[in-house]
Symmetry: C3
Subunit: 363 residues, 3 copies
């Protein structure tokens, strides 16, 4: 995957200096870069490491003195991570999945497979499923009956998509992602202890011993365009209507989204986030790693929750959260500081009590 | 899947009114329901939405004035979620897995496959495995050597069941569920830092740098009747005896149950719950999403833990828990309220100290 | 898998007494052991249970009076769990995966398969992949293009290994483990609300509504010797260089390791641990269940974090942590005790305020 410096700069929309005809094979960290590598030194603190490597060309911070660093060519990146997006897209070697439909794949004759779709070995495509053009269905995948995948989907190995799931264009799913498992929804014949606890905030009441009866999922999952779902993440079917992920929303690995939940557009759900059922999440929401969201609440647009936050009640738009239970990040910081002073506070109050209520005591 | 109102009412044991010969194709939310849909408006706050839709028939709360809502037929649901169980079971279209045994499935000749079992493409059934009658083994599943599945099992795609696992009747496993992975059990040749920390509550002692030696899992997993395991959940093998899930227990997605742990009957383990090894969990226990349970403790019958609770010590029967570390839910609420007043409390105590110990100061 | 008492004692390096020619078939708990079982009673509190069982031979604590317990032979275990390692390795019946390469496996002609490798049905081996001798690739596995597995690897069913991943000797992967998914790395064209929050600790600033652009993973994953990865765990590819797991490190189920993160040697990451991207973890680190680690920090050698700890900043070597946010375990205990006294403290301070500032009041 060789590219000239000029090609790279054009792809990421950046300025250049020096010999832009130099050809590089891949990107590398500055210290370990060889003469065929493009060194990535996007902030001045990487400058020194450049000297340890052997790169002839580098992506540098704006204004860097590339000649003084012994380079023959430079690309300037005003917003380094933005440049990384373009650069890595250009240099990605991919997984090497073969084009075409593998002879072993089991494809229902009623399925509609778009132009230029590739399907890997041991993949299964169900009845009346539709797969958009230019999609790559990796090895050992499952696309259920009547499921719809838009154009340009890319499924890594062992992804499963349940019956009737509908997904927009350019969907990416990492290995083991599960779209359209049944929702976790059970009911007891009579009022259960859990229902009593929710009403009383702590009392199970006299709910007798009962068994759980299953509520089936009649809804499926609807996913917009440009969505990515991480490895081994799970998105459950809705009960009557669909569970929804909006356009441009990205899920990391091991994320759980419960039945009926609606996630807006351009959200990020980081690793191991768990969203219960029937949650309404707005647009541009960012949930850090291991965030949990209780069922039947809403989270407004632009909310950001730090890693580990447990969200137990509605959150207005724009709020920044932390803690268990979640509070505003500033409040959390105040509480946290106060907590660390708690042991001392206890001693202070003991001394005050003695001075005020028992001033004559000697011990 | 068309049904008359009469058929639906009979299936869920509910009363009716109006023209019970009306035929409906599926369930729908009141506002989006069409004339072939059965609208679900089980509480009065859905009444208004009914007017926006075009349903001719609906499931309504007891006493609802169905005629005034323009309906031609009504089913009355005294306990709405209970009615949902019956209704959704009736209307579930399923995954469309084909009957019969797919030609590509690899089934060991010594395996015993019951009557009317279906096995999907690319599934593997190991030596001496036994699959009960009327079971559906989805595509790309794995049932290990000597594993036993009772009658009426339903495995979605890509479920794996390890060697010697024993499962009762009517088991349901969502995609990617893993039953019978090896337990996570390692030991150092000499006493380790972790062992010292457990003894001293915080001191690693002088445990040197050691490598971990594996303790293999000789036990497997035993699962009762009517159990469901969610997508990508994992139940590990026991060390000597089996890890156990009792009858009627339900696990959501991404739940982890460690080696040797015994979960009683009719429990609910919600999304991303993690139970360590050698835990004894009673019956009718409900663990909310992301609850964690430390190893080697017991949790009594009927315990309910709110989402995010981390249970670090034994819990008597009937207790309702919250927090990290887990405390009674009422205690948690008290502590939480006090925490929010902490910053103010610190100021109050500072003022008191000044007034009591330094009354003449002016600053 | 029959063994004499002598063979077992030799395998675990233990002393014996009595008739060491007795043959046992498997290990069992003392109370349920039959005459062909080896009872495991490694501490005196199992002594009584032995009387309930029918074992002729047992592994006992040093100095136990085996004859008085009615046994005919005894093996003495000075460090019981260490003995379990040897014993369970000896008695492990395995998964029963057949030797040889299954006819259905799809193996690229350019892949290099070592001597005595077995590959299960429906497994896929990509172009230029290399699999070391004596490896067992279970059913329905995927080994990507140019991936390298050292000698003696053991992959359970449905494990997937991405392109260019490099793994050392004796690797063990439980079902559904995912090595080499793409990292979760996205950037907005302009500064995002998350970036502002990180700078200001709580303020999203005026970041407008933007969509996320993907940063591709050009790096892969490098794993040392003697590493084990649990069921449905996920290790992501690095961005430019590889994500790294050192020799002897063990991961439990549902663990997530983000892109670029480096984990040292001989670490334990327990169930559902989540490590973000670009974290540097030292050697001999133990992270309890559900621990979370924020991105771009380091954790020193020998650190131990109790279950549920959320690590939000750098941790020096040797520290023992607990809590959210993580503090020293001793500090956590102090804070926790003080918290439980908080409601009473509030009442005390109210009484003090009244006495000091409003002494004449009667209510």
């Amino acid at each position: 995957m060789s590219h000239t410096i000029q090609q790279i700069a054009a792809a990421i929309g950046a300025e250049t200096a020096g010999d832009v005809t130099i050809v590089v094979d891949r990107a590398a960290e500055p210290a370990s870069a060889g003469p065929e590598d493009l060194a990535l030194a996007m902030t001045p603190n990487y400058g020194e490491a450049l000297a340890q490597g052997k790169a002839r060309a580098a992506i540098l911070w704006p204004g860097a003195d590339w000649r003084a660093m012994g380079l023959e060519a430079a690309v300037f990146a005003p917003r380094p991570r933005r440049a990384m997006a373009g650069l890595t897209a250009l240099l990605d070697e991919g997984q090497g999945f073969a084009p075409g439909i593998h002879a072993s794949a089991v494809i229902d004759p009623s399925a509609e497979i778009g132009a230029r779709v590739s399907i890997g070995p041991f993949s299964v495509i169900g009845a009346h499923a539709r797969i958009g053009p230019d999609s790559v269905i990796g090895p050992q995948c499952h696309v259920g009956a009547q499921a719809v995948l838009g154009e340009g989907a890319f499924l890594r190995e062992m992804v499963s998509i349940g019956a009737r799931v509908r997904i927009g264009a350019r969907f990416i799913a990492q290995p083991g992602a599960r779209i359209g498992a049944d929702g976790f929804s059970f009911v007891t014949p009579e009022v259960s202890g859990v229902e009593n606890v929710r009403k009383t905030l702590g009392d199970t009441g006299d709910a007798g011993a009962q068994s759980w009866v299953r509520i089936h999922s009649l809804g499926s999952v609807e996913i917009g365009d440009d969505v990515e779902v991480g490895a081994n993440s799970t998105i459950d079917n809705g009960t009557i209507r669909a569970t929804v992920l909006g356009n441009g929303t990205k899920l990391d690995n091991l994320v759980h989204v419960g039945h009926n939940t609606r996630v807006g557009h351009d959200c990020l759900l980081c690793g191991q986030v768990g969203v219960s059922g029937s949650v309404e999440i707005g647009n541009h929401v960012v949930l850090g790693g291991q965030v949990g969201v209780v069922d039947n609440i809403f989270i407004g647009d632009g909310v950001i929750a730090a890693g580990g936050t447990k969200i137990l009640s509605n959150v207005p738009a724009g709020r920044v959260l932390m803690g268990y239970p979640a509070v505003r990040m500033q409040t959390h910081t105040e509480i946290y500081k106060a907590q660390r002073r708690l042991p001392r506070l206890l001693r202070d109050v003991a001394a005050l009590k003695k001075a005020v209520f028992n001033p004559g005591s000697n011990d």
